[in-house]
């Protein structure tokens, strides 16, 4: 399930931001710092995650850097889903 979700999120990010994980960009890379995600793309990404996985992020979560890398995003979404 998590694996499938991860692939889905990875695919969304890769298609939206036109790059492939692997070439110097890992699951742990901070996608802001690498200039991959901008403000517009960030809002698209959050909206997608909330809608697609039926989760809601809190302000504290936004502020605690949990949505900056693929692995953080996947962890956060799966934790939220398991609490449902």
């Amino acid at each position: 399930m998590v694996h499938c979700m991860k692939e889905q999120i990875q695919q969304f990010i890769e298609e939206k931001f036109l790059f492939k994980f692997g070439d110097g960009i890992t699951e742990e890379s901070n996608l802001f710092q690498l200039g991959i995600i901008d403000s517009f793309g960030y809002i698209q990404l959050i909206s997608y995650l909330e809608k697609e996985f039926n989760v809601k992020f809190t302000e504290e979560e936004f502020m605690s850097n949990i949505l900056v890398s693929l692995s953080n995003i996947v962890d956060c979404v799966s934790q939220k889903q398991s609490k449902h």
Binding site: L18, F32, Q33, G35, D38, F40, F62, M63, N65, L67
Partner: protein, 660 residues
């Protein structure tokens, strides 16, 4: 206003000199359609295509001192020429004309490079000393007038626009991928960059000396942008009064002209102030000009009309459609000469045509107000990010609300998301570039057009390291400095300003970019306000003279339709982006990325295309077109080359000897 060009090379076949200088001038004839002239001797050729503004009869160029030792080719205006002339007359210098050209030349003869600090103007000039066979070139302190040069194989050439080099036989254009990486990341060329190998810009506030010894060019700076100030005011009331007085004086200086001066009226605060002051000073109806947009997202015609009625101006406007942008983009980019990140310069190309058709040669405009009086959101953003970790969430939200009101994704519904974004940028990660980190990180996306896009910030780091005072500047001053060195000269004054106006022989003047105004604003900025009500002092200074609606209006940046216009109209030249053969000619591009990117742009709804994607698309399109014009020498480059300079040639000084 004028276009200047020339070469300095002792060893070339001197029989070719007249043809070469004439071809170079013909390529920039649009800058000076009234008359042309050149000086030649065995070492040097310099010429001017002139737009006559002051002392129309007597200031024909090249202009010399009475002894005919020094010859000047001059593009621009010296606004304080009357004061300098008085000063020089008191020192015994005799003048024979009423022109600022003569004042500039005599000031240089008297003070040499020391004259530059005394100049208040928009200029780029070349002075040839026939006795020493040296060439002196200089540029104004903010980069209002252009000057490009190339040193190659012992030859030195220069011109107001790079397209003049198309007329120089042994020169060929070649892209410089390292410069392009920087341009794509930072949005604009840095002050010394052109995008091409072997072409440099003389940076603003610098001069250059070319001497016969190996044709060596020595560059030096005569001013620095350190925001030191000699102003002092104690109360806000005094600051408001002085703001009005200084701006009034600056407008007055820029109304010195022997031809009628018009004003660009955008609908915003800055041009409204200029129009109000111009009406007050001239005490007559002012001719104003505006761009309207069919697409309401970009249109400010309601505010323009409000001002036209309030200030009782004679008004002319053009209404821009998406089709206008698409049809005129190729011509406008040829004039711009450098890769661009937005299309907003295209309407300015059409507006200057309208101005010229209505018989106006000189225009005042509001450029520089946002940099000088902290009008841009990037200044508020910098203030917010500096304080981010010391303020409450509520305060963060209150301040975020004041940022980028014209961007949909900055609406209050996205505020929680934006909190997370700004959290990421609350600590400096690119040393010295804190204020612009978000912009530059977004710009990094555009560098992916290039196969090798490493080190996009290398050149900007080198530039700030050269300025010893930079580290002492406050975060907001660093943001100002960055604007003064990148977007202002690299796009607003050049691509959107000088190049578009002069494409149709119209001279633009910018009263906010006066040394006395910048000296004053350096003292009063953030002294009486917290920076979140942008241009607070300007608003206070003109609230009694302008409609309330204009004073209260939030900053509405001048923008124009981007990728969607091209996708809707699909002009033929878009084929350049779909053809592997064409794209492969730009061998430094990353074709795989470009294919994916172009596919995404053409298959996504326009509201799903981000700002940085729009910018990247415009960059790509401009690169492809410029490649045709400058490297392949096709299209416009050919038609402009064949312009007839002979019909406006009024002065030829030919001192060549031993012609075979």
């Amino acid at each position: 206003m004028c276009g200047i060009a020339g070469f300095y090379k002792p060893f070339k076949r001197i029989e070719d000199y007249p043809r070469t200088i004439k071809t170079m001038l013909s390529l920039i004839q649009h800058r000076g359609p009234d008359e042309a002239g050149y000086y030649l001797d065995n070492y040097c050729g310099i010429g001017t295509a002139r737009l006559s503004i002051i002392d129309i009869q007597n200031a024909t160029q090249p202009f010399s001192d009475p002894g005919k030792r020094y010859w000047i080719c001059y593009n621009g205006e010296l606004y304080n020429y009357k004061e300098l002339k008085n000063d020089l007359q008191n020192k015994g210098v005799i003048f024979y004309t009423n022109s600022d050209t003569e004042v500039l030349l005599q000031a240089w003869i008297y003070w040499r490079e020391g004259c530059l600090k005394k100049f208040n103007g928009a200029f780029a000039f070349a002075i040839y000393d026939t006795q020493e066979t040296t060439l002196f070139l200089a540029r104004d302190r903010y980069g209002k007038r252009p000057l490009f040069y190339s040193e190659n194989n012992g030859e030195f050439i220069f011109a107001s626009e790079m397209k003049a080099f198309l007329g120089y036989d042994s020169f060929s254009f070649e892209w410089d991928p390292q410069q392009l990486t920087s341009i794509l990341a930072l949005w604009t060329p840095l002050p010394n960059q052109s995008g091409f190998k072997n072409i440099k810009q003389l940076p603003m506030g610098e001069y250059l000396v070319v001497s016969k010894k190996g044709v060596s060019a020595t560059r030096a700076s005569y001013t620095e942008l350190n925001f030191n100030t000699t102003s002092f005011v104690q109360t806000q009331a005094d600051a408001v009064k002085q703001t009005r007085a200084l701006l009034s004086e600056s407008v007055k200086l820029r109304l010195r002209s022997d031809v009628e001066v018009g004003v660009y009226l955008s609908g915003g605060l800055d041009s409204a102030i200029i129009t109000q002051l111009t009406s007050e000073i001239l005490n007559q109806q002012v001719h104003t000009f505006s761009v309207e947009f069919e697409n309401k997202e970009f249109d400010e015609s309601c505010d323009q009309q409000l001002l036209v009625q309030h200030l009782r101006t004679k008004h002319s406007s053009i209404k821009i459609t998406d089709r206008d942008i698409v049809e005129n983009f190729p011509k406008a980019i040829f004039h711009a000469e450098v890769p661009v990140f937005r299309t907003a310069f295209v309407p300015m190309f059409l507006l200057s045509q309208k101005v010229r058709n209505e018989g106006i040669k000189v225009i005042l405009s509001g450029e520089g107000a946002d940099e000088t009086f902290l009008g841009y959101d990037i200044f508020k953003e910098t203030l917010l990010r500096i304080s981010w970790n010391n303020i409450s969430d509520q305060e963060r939200k209150n301040k975020l609300e004041k940022l980028y009101p014209y961007l949909n994704h900055f609406s209050t519904t996205s505020q929680s998301y934006l909190m997370g974004l700004y959290q990421q940028f609350s600590i400096e990660k690119l040393p010295g570039l804190f204020s612009h980190e978000i912009r530059f990180q977004n710009g990094y996306f555009s560098t992916r057009l290039l196969e090798n896009h490493t080190h996009p910030f290398k050149e900007i780091y080198r530039l700030i390291e050269e300025e010893s005072y930079y580290t002492e500047l406050s975060p907001v001053q660093k943001a100002q400095w960055m604007e003064f060195k990148t977007l202002l000269p690299g796009y607003l004054l050049s691509t959107q300003g000088d190049r578009m106006s002069l494409a149709h022989g119209v001279e633009n003047r910018c009263p906010f970019l006066d040394p006395s105004i910048i000296n004053f604003s350096s003292h009063v900025n953030l002294k009486f306000d917290d920076g979140f009500n942008e241009k607070y002092l300007l608003k206070e200074a003109f609230q009694a003279r302008l409609p309330k609606q204009i004073i209260k209006k939030s900053k509405f940046p001048y923008r124009a339709p981007d990728s969607s216009a091209f996708i809707n109209y699909r002009p033929d030249y878009l084929d350049l982006l779909f053809s592997d053969t064409e794209l492969k000619k730009l061998e430094f591009l990353d074709l795989n990325f470009i294919k994916q990117f172009v596919q995404k742009i053409f298959s996504s709804p326009s509201d799903q295309i981000s700002t940085k994607e729009n910018q990247t698309f415009i960059f790509l399109l401009s690169l492809a077109l410029l490649n045709d014009y400058f490297l392949k020498k096709e299209g416009l480059a050919v038609s402009m080359n064949s312009r007839d300079i002979e019909s406006i040639l009024v002065k030829v000084i030919d001192m060549r000897t031993n012609i075979t």
